[in-house]
Amino acid sequence: MKENIIEFEKFEWQYGNNANFKILINDLKIKKGSFIGVIGPTGAGKTSFCYSIMGVIPHLQTGEMKGSVRIGGVETKNSSLSMLSRKVGLILQNPLSQMSGAGLNVEEEIAFGLENLGYPRSEMEKKIKEIIKLFELKEHAHRSPFELSGGQQQKVAIASVLVLEPDIIVLDEPTGYLDPLSTEIIFNLVKKLNKKGKTIIFVSHKFEYLNKLCDEILLMNEGSIVKKGSPEEIFTNIPLLKKNYLGIPEITSLFNRLKKAGKWNKEFTASVEKAEKYLKEEFPWMR
């Protein structure tokens, strides 16, 4: 059995300036090396959840915390942000809020965290080169991030965290501005890091990728985890998705349409590949 790397126990958090929202996670254990997808409507508490893994909650936010969050066995409230940031990397939705603000160029921006962690020069240069190439940022390496297109900025923000290869990688809807190819590159790289043993927490509205890559999905709403399940279990559950104001994958809708017409009574899928297989088996005339 693998150890739990993230543990929430009777965790409660209320922001000092917001009496209407409370995050409440009674009991959640995440095993080292898992790939967890997090979904939920706006205001569900996904970002607060990410913050409490990183220690931004309680260290940088004002509010009241109860219970505990343990990262690798250490309680976040007894640790410091700088200690936690050696284990946890957080990537935010808005790329510009992530830049160091030190007026660096793309390459320096990506080097920033590595320098802080005291990497040796040669290893650092190699890592930076690799990630710049993978993210197709080579042409822009010496430009200011502020002169880049929205998607390019986002890639810089992602690269500067992933290059550190922290044990726990928390991504809060990081691919919004990315084109399909870059989205795929990011998801694949994250999967690769996961295979190397990194624990991944990935908040995203891109259900198709989550369905393909995650071990487990956490569905959040109103500050709590309302459902935990395998990707297919969650993404084919129309009442559950509807109740929590989430979109229905098109493939799930198609199976539902067939069911309503009395043409389908087997299990649903949300994946294009499986749907092709299911339909070809069931309706040979369609091939």
């Binding site: 939920g40 939705q93 998607g151 084109d179 979109g247 994958p249 098109e250």
Partner: protein
Amino acid sequence: MDEIIKVKNLEFSYSLEGTKVLKGISFSINKGEIVGIIGQNGSGKTTLVKHFNGLLKPIKGDVIINGKNTKEEEISELSKTTGYIFQNPDDQIFNNSILKEVSFGPKNLKFTKKRIKELVEKALKLTGLSAVKNKQPYDLPYNKRKLIAIASIISMDGEIIIFDEPTTGQDYLNREIVINIIKELKKKGKTIIVISHDMEFIAKICERAIVLKEGRILLDDSVQKVFMNKKVLESTKLKPPQITRLAQKFKRIYDGTLTVEEFFNQMYK
């Protein structure tokens, strides 16, 4: 038909020595059309549409909006016709209340008090922000700020409205809000341009799509035809919506199928 945007051999670069970002682009858009602009990061989508309200001016070629060459017009004039909603709302928002932000544009255009009030109320209602209008924009989360950015442009009631990645980071409900706004604007006969990486969204609202690659137009066609063009999809790595991709696996189903209902109807007609 009424041509409202005409782009002729447009070339642009951000600096004199810099490489060209737009490398000779020509097309036109008729009044009332909804056009999607798609393509990879850095392909020039934002740069292109910033020419429509005069934020950027061509280095070569011309951009004609409503019969007027943008080279000869002030931004303030052009912004009466064209509203551009920024990709990043934080580049756009600067007032300290949502109401002020949304009223700023129409006030600036010197509309009558009554019209300002109507337009602002309508914009707040469409974006679902009426209840929070007295809050500070930065008290709302990022994805709500995107809706503030939309409200403050549609309140100016321009003929052309440009959305730069409006569904980014939006959950289902907010995405439906954006879709509804665009449908409302279409009803009013507005010309709408949408930049997006979200192909399901493009399939839902656009009739026509322009594919950009490295500063050039690769394809300009109906959304169906774009999603059926294997060569273009391959070279831009664009992925059609799930249902379209599934349709393309079956001989009996049209490769340009865009909705679940269309798919189903072809199975059981």
